[in-house]
């Protein structure tokens, strides 16, 4: 028997899902070990090895938060001293950024600390035009000076970013050679290799982030590899990247900036996979955990990818706040995120209004009912509403104190006349509204009608709030997969190997540019092909997706057109995309081609989702009914059946209101929703108007 293993390290838990050829599934949940995350990973792996022989494991896929945590300044993950070599006259581009501040009215606003201090930003004399022509030749003496300074300071993490190096990286390569000759153990990231696209600040930032993360991520991945091998597992190890593709350990080490949004991406990849298995093309993924809720879009079976993001930045109503973090121009599964989770705290503002978030009680002290804190959280509200089991969570493993929830919620009940139940309902309504906003961002704002989508709910809290947020945005079908609480680990098993190669073009969409683009496509495909080969992907499993970014002349942001076969087709597809996304197409306006991109994909074997014979709709067996308890249904407390998920069988069907409890999550089926278990074991809820 051959097993594929996915391991996702989260803030509180490290989740493992192992899937056998025959569809058997094993899950483990162990505590995360933030100081040395690989310990948790290896704990989970060892737990698996009690049941599965090491030589039966064919693949280990891993999602890691190490890069994000390092950027967020987590202790024990100190970033190295980084030197940045740039064009003379432009030493401060990296720090000026886009010259804006992240909070307009906050007189105490801060700017993210530059990852290379000014002292360590060194300049070389050179200058190119945007077409790559040389205005000032590279002055070797200035290169030597910069290299000497770096050597003297003992800096080994170096980024090189010169103006217009996306057009020609030769000067950067000369600097790199000089560094490698003179500085032992130096690790150099070149902007012309890491992110060969125009707009200097974003390219420099991406390159410097890469250089800063390299030592930490490389050392971590080496420890992971050693540990896995020491446990006797010889299978290849892959790491999930921000774009939802996997990279072999060695490739991932070279491009640590590609791993930043590793964990969140895998949930969306899993959602896309489950959607395809169910024949659902358009899926909104809804992942609600302890501190945040994340929403992503899968349209036509493909997760929506964005070309850049701001790492370690802050968000406002689910949108990234410009200038709050470090721009990284590497594709990422485009998620909108909001501070809304089980631990999110409710409070009363100066005008006496009830509010929820963004503060979170986190894992420590956690919700009031856990027995440590006394501030009311979303979880406490759900306990008061009795949607969550008032005696214990985790299928009875984790006793809670419902009275503490009541007391905590009572402390914010003044705005609703001291009524605890009404306050709890208010907290739930407010947090649902916040989460509906991020779902709107990934659907309505991208030109999609949410009514055409199915919501896939996972994470510890997703299934509990799914009906409410779905109803808010007009979605009528919700799917809760069998293991919603470890779904991100599951998603790792559905990912392909991906290599993205990209170049700027920025020229009119005419025959000449098209022929340039086609030549570039070939070159970029060769790059991707070689990279897949290095990662052990067989020839037969390799495929290539060609993309162009286009815009109207005069615009400064682009839309992606996939797999154009001719110039006319590309331009037509662009007009259509523009119409769909922004509500109009300017058919008479001139169009330009900005970027050529090739995504090389190495297809991996996927979990086989086998549907059980589809049984007729039937009532659940009596043993599935755990109890009937009074649960708040949006207007009043009504007697509501509570089912055990493990005891529900395919074909079981019932109407809301109902509660379904399982180890890793609780699902609330709201009134006017019906629920059934499908042949794959998914819980499918439908709104019956």
């Amino acid at each position: 028997m051959s097993w594929r293993v996915g391991i996702d390290i989260g803030g509180t838990f490290t989740d493992l899902v192992a899937l056998a050829d025959d569809g058997r599934l094993i899950r483990h949940k162990v505590s995360s070990t933030p100081r040395a995350p690989e310990d948790g990973l290896l704990d989970a792996l060892r737990a698996l090895l009690d049941e599965v022989a090491a030589n039966e494991i064919a693949l280990v896929a891993h999602a890691s938060t190490i890069a994000t945590n390092a950027l967020l300044g987590q202790v024990h993950l100190e970033l190295p001293r980084v030197a940045f070599v740039t064009t003379e006259g432009f030493r401060d581009v990296l720090e000026i950024g886009r010259q804006n501040r992240s909070a307009i009215y906050d007189l105490n606003v801060t700017r993210p600390k530059p990852l290379a201090k000014r002292e360590d930003r060194l300049v070389v004399r050179e200058r190119r035009t945007h077409e790559g022509g040389v205005i000032v030749e590279l002055d070797r003496a200035s290169v030597d000076r910069a290299v000497a300074t770096i050597r003297e300071r003992g800096i080994t993490a170096v980024a090189v970013g010169l103006l217009h190096a996306d057009a020609d990286g030769e000067h950067e390569r000369v600097v790199a050679e000089a560094l490698r000759e003179a500085v032992p153990d130096v690790e150099v990231s070149l902007s012309s290799e890491i992110d060969p696209q125009y707009r200097e600040y974003e390219r420099f930032s991406t390159t410097v982030v890469n250089a800063a993360l390299a030592p930490i991520v490389q050392a971590y991945l080496e420890r992971v590899a050693r540990g896995v091998r020491a446990a006797g597992v010889q299978a290849p190890i892959f790491v999930m990247r921000s774009d939802g593709g996997m990279a072999a350990l060695k490739s991932a080490s070279k491009r640590p900036a590609t791993l930043i949004e590793s964990g969140p991406a895998s949930g969306v990849i899993g959602a896309a996979y489950v959607g395809r298995a169910l024949g659902i093309e358009n899926v909104l993924s809804f992942d609600m955990g302890g501190t945040t809720a994340k929403a992503g879009t899968i349209f036509g079976g493909v997760p929506e990818i964005s070309a850049s993001f701001e790492a370690a930045g802050s968000t406002h109503s689910g949108r990234s706040v410009k200038g709050s973090g470090y721009p990284v121009r590497f594709p990422f599964v485009d998620l909108a995120e909001v501070s809304a989770g089980g631990g999110t705290i409710a409070w009363v503002d100066a005008a006496g209004a009830l509010r929820v978030g963004p503060l979170s009680a986190g894992a420590d002290p956690g919700p009031a009912c856990y027995g440590h804190g006394d501030r009311p959280t979303v979880t406490d509200a759900n306990v008061v509403l009795r949607r969550l089991n008032p005696r214990a969570l985790l299928d009875g493993d984790f006793p809670i104190d419902a009275q503490r929830s009541r007391d905590a919620v009572a402390s914010v009940a003044a705005p609703v006349g001291g009524d605890v139940e009404r306050a709890a309902a208010g907290v739930a309504a407010l947090v649902d509204a916040e989460m509906a906003k991020v779902l709107r961002i990934v659907s309505v704002e991208r030109g999609h009608d949410p009514r055409d989508f199915t919501l896939l709910a996972f994470g510890g809290g997703g299934p509990l709030h799914a009906c409410a947020v779905a109803a808010d945005i007009g979605v009528t079908r919700v799917v809760v997969p069998p293991l919603p609480g470890v779904f991100s680990a599951y998603g790792l098993l559905a990912a392909d190997v991906r290599v993205t190669s990209v170049r700027s073009i920025v020229a009119p969409a005419d025959a000449e540019t098209w022929s340039r683009a086609r030549k570039l496509f070939d070159a970029l495909a060769r790059e991707g092909d070689a990279a897949l080969g290095e990662q052990g992907v067989a020839k037969a499993d390799r495929s290539f997706v060609r993309e162009l970014d286009l815009r109207y002349v005069g615009q400064s942001t682009e839309l992606v057109v996939t797999a154009p076969r001719s110039l006319e087709e590309a331009v037509e597809a662009f007009h259509r995309r523009h119409e769909q996304r922004y509500g109009f197409a300017a058919l008479r306006d001139a169009v330009e081609i900005v970027t050529a991109r090739v995504v090389a994909i190495g297809t991996t074997p996927k979990p086989r989702l086998a549907a059980a014979p589809a049984p007729a709709r039937r009532a659940p067996e009596a043993r599935a009914l755990r109890e009937r308890r009074d649960v708040y249904d949006g207007a009043a407390f009504t007697e509501t059946p509570v089912y055990g998920r493990a005891q529900l069988r395919p074909g079981d069907a019932f109407d809301g209101p109902a509660v379904i409890e399982q180890y890793d999550a609780t699902t609330y089926v709201a009134p006017s929703w019906s629920a059934r278990i499908d042949g794959f074991g998914n819980l499918v809820m439908e709104h019956s108007r």
Binding site: G89, D92, I96, Q99, N100, N108, K117, H130
Partner: protein, 548 residues
């Protein structure tokens, strides 16, 4: 429906949905816009109003649009009413007359009236900076304008959309009066799209909750905003303070005095600008809406920035500006720089007054200018082009932290344009973009450094217009902190001849000529002798010095 019967949670959901809707309008404008000025620099603002024209939600975009958008909306509606007109269902008007719509000619406002069942329920409006609206120089902000007409074409409220279809005649008129006509139509379409989003969300709320609940929720949001501002004002000490600041005239002399008397009593704040200089035949005049923006910005920053922006939160503040002065001029005084420069000085002025009233809450003075650069002309192939940008400066030191180097402060927050984008699109070469190493005001906490940015012309011919402040008067330090360095403009001709340029000037450029813009540094806060030696060492290693 009265507010007492209103469920407070529902009210909260409605008002937060409207704030979100105003933000979504902003995204729609940005996404669909053509010109980098809106798309990359985000020089636009969006808001929703109730049927009485009261501001109910405004997205946090550009502070200078803050008070001017609601002021402008009410004036435009009143202007139409005087002529027996309204904005009918399916219509939008476009307007840029600063004396009606509230800022300067470049800021083009588009307004939609929102109807439900034939009844007016509100307005969606947005304002975006169009790079060129005609006038004497590319960028439409001629430093030597003597009246409004030199600054570009003036559009009084004009139908832009009728029966939900764009009126091509109007778009053509705007295009014909711009040096960059291609982007005009695209940007207007984006502004139309933004208002449509706002209307859709407003109507969805009405359909979901009913008009009675929505209107009651808005009343409550306005009342809450007012209550929160009053609560915040009560925390400031009572008192009367007077304060003044200066601006630099046509010859660069700091002769233009702005004066305010600020009276704080209980939970109210009254500002009286009597004593401020008369309006002038130069573009520093700021229409009343811009003056309001500066007041609201300063009060919001010093009290509680989390208070939702609506008419209620402004209600406890009264502002009297004598007509005919620099801060409330009469038509047709030119106003292009009132928006960008005078607004900055007004923010300094009000912040300075608040510092006297409540010491320890207000930073030292920042660079105090948006450092406007407009360059345009004909490229080597004879095609016309226009470029506009504003440049950051040094932020004033805070009572407990250094100022930030090279950043936009106070009344603006627009992004810079990437050098690699400029050089692709215009016949220019940016030859420097760095911190000015000797510009920060010293102090226990130092001010931020100003910027150095240099623009060289590669081909064709061009006119550069520069508009800046704080070239003669340095940004002041606070509580014993040193002043920031003043800004400067320098022309380096192709042959190498170097000359100083005035703060406000237009100058012809030939290929090979370069203009160096230095922006002012921020003032320091507190006694320099008390600066943490480690911080001083950090600056020394980083090569960041302080102003002499």
């Amino acid at each position: 429906m009265n507010t007492a019967a209103l469920d407070p949670i529902t009210a909260e959901l409605v008002s937060s949905a409207l704030i979100y809707a105003s933000e979504e309008m902003g995204i729609a404008v940005r996404d669909a816009a053509y010109s980098p000025n809106i798309k990359e620099r985000l020089d636009h603002s969006c808001a929703l109003f109730d049927a009485r024209g009261r501001l109910v939600a405004q997205a946090e975009h550009i502070p200078v649009h803050l008070g001017s958008l609601p002021w402008g909306l009410r004036r435009c509606v009143a202007w139409l009413a005087e002529r027996g007109r309204t904005i009918a269902p399916g219509e939008m008007i476009v307007v840029n007359d600063p004396y009606l719509s509230g800022t300067h000619l470049n800021d083009v406002t588009v307004i939609r009236a929102i109807y439900h069942g034939g009844r007016l329920v509100g307005y969606a409006a947005n304002k975006a900076h169009h790079t060129d609206v005609g006038g004497a120089v590319p960028g439409s902000m001629p430093p030597d304008a003597r009246d409004l007409f030199a600054e570009g074409a003036v559009y009084t409220p004009t139908i832009l959309v009728r029966g939900d279809a764009v009126v091509d005649d109007t778009v053509d008129l705007l295009r014909a009066n711009s040096r960059t006509p291609e982007a005009r139509a695209g940007d207007l379409r984006a502004q139309i799209a933004g208002n449509n989003v706002g209307e859709r969300r407003f109507l969805e709320l009405i359909e979901r909750y009913g008009i009675g609940v929505v209107e009651a929720s808005l009343d409550k949001a306005l009342a809450d905003g007012e209550r929160r501002t009053r609560a915040a004002l009560r925390e400031l000490p009572d008192g009367v303070v007077e304060h003044e600041d200066v601006m630099e005239d046509e010859r660069g002399e700091p002769s233009i005095v702005l004066r305010v008397r600020l009276e704080k009593r209980g939970d109210t704040l009254a500002l009286d600008y009597t004593g401020t200089a008369e309006q002038r035949a130069m573009p520093l005049n700021a229409v009343y809406g811009v003056t309001l923006s500066g007041v609201y910005y300063a009060v919001r920053a010093v009290t509680d920035p989390r208070i939702p922006m609506n008419d209620g939160s402004f209600a406890p503040i009264t502002v009297h500006v004598p007509e005919g002065t620099l801060l409330n001029p009469r038509r047709p005084a030119p106003v292009s720089a009132g928006n960008v420069e005078t607004s900055m000085r007004n923010a300094d002025l009000v912040l300075g007054a608040l510092a006297k009233l409540a010491p320890g809450r207000v930073p030292a003075q920042s660079g105090g200018s948006m450092n406007n650069v407009m360059i345009g002309g004909l490229d080597g192939a004879g095609r016309s082009w226009a470029f506009y940008e504003t440049n950051g400066c040094g932020m004033g030191a805070r009572p407990h932290a250094d100022g930030i180097d090279g950043i936009h402060v106070h009344m603006t927050n627009t992004l810079n344009t990437p050098i690699e984008a400029i050089e692709r699109q215009m016949p220019m070469l940016i030859t420097a973009y760095e911190f000015d190493e000797t510009s920060a005001g010293d102090g226990t906490f130092r001010g931020g450094s100003g910027l150095v940015r240099a623009f060289a012309l590669r081909e064709g011919t061009a006119t550069a217009s520069l508009l800046a402040e704080r070239h003669a008067v340095r940004p002041r330090g606070a509580d014993g902190g040193g002043d920031g360095a003043s800004g400067a403009h320098v022309m380096v001709r192709r042959g190498g001849a170097v000359s100083d340029l005035p703060a406000k000037t237009s100058v012809a450029m030939e290929p090979g000529d370069a203009i160096i813009v230095r922006t002012a540094g921020g003032g320091g806060y507190g006694d320099p002798a008390k600066r943490d030696p480690a911080a001083r060492e950090r600056d020394r290693a980083d090569g960041i010095g302080t102003a002499e």
